[in-house]
Amino acid sequence: MPIKVRFFASLREQIGRAELEMPADGVATVGDVWANASAGAAPPADVLAAVNHTTAGLEHPVADGDEVGFFPPVTGG
């Protein structure tokens, strides 16, 4: 199963898409997912990420079938 990648809010608008999928081959961490999805562009300094709906850092491991979300700082409430 591929890794599902989702982008939210201003990050989604900057990237120009809400989601994509990528094969898990050679993708070990959240940081690898970002690099793969953004053609090597560095992540914004304040980017947040989640793996399977739980907050995770760029070093967090990912595996087949994971959902990885990227988003800017939250502003609800």
């Binding site: 809010a9 739980t54 502003t75 609800g76 409430g77």
Partner: protein, 146 residues
């Protein structure tokens, strides 16, 4: 404990009245602290006419559940409630409601404020304002809570 995302306007006082009657036992709780956040017609000096509240379906609910559970572990609560709007919001409409019931006031006050601060710093929601000028912009940061 209850978490709800609402895609349409809600009346916080009615939600509180119904929740209290249905879920809490009168005579057991002596304190209820609550907070309602509503949409203002201005922000950072600009007139605002509407707002889009984006969230991360699945993760948002999960994070709110976690925050509510943490509050219940830190304070002796008899009940708690979080309701949060998503989608298009008009000026004056409630955005968020938090409430905590306990035997004595200290726990409910502290837990209610904890829910709001945790929600604002951790729950995946993002506000996009439509200004009076027609321009739209993402809200970049929260007002400090302490």
């Amino acid at each position: 404990m209850s978490v709800e995302l609402s895609a349409s306007p809600f009346s916080p006082w009615q939600v509180l009245a119904v929740h209290e009657r249905r879920v809490l036992r009168a005579g057991e709780y002596g304190a209820c602290a609550s907070f309602v956040g509503s949409m203002r017609d201005s922000n950072e000096g600009d007139g605002v006419v509407s707002m889009e509240l984006e969230h991360y379906p699945g993760m948002t609910e999960r994070e709110l559940d976690t925050i509510e559970r943490e509050a219940g572990e830190r304070w002796p609560l008899l009940g708690s409630l979080i309701v949060h709007r998503v989608g298009e919001i008009a000026v004056g409409e409630p955005i968020v409601l938090c409430a905590c019931w306990s035997a004595h006031r200290k726990a409910s006050f502290e837990a209610c404020r904890f829910l709001m601060e945790a929600l604002k710093s951790r729950a995946p929601f993002w506000k996009k304002e439509t200004l009076a000028s027609g321009q739209t912009r993402w809200v970049e940061r929260n007002t400090p809570g302490y």
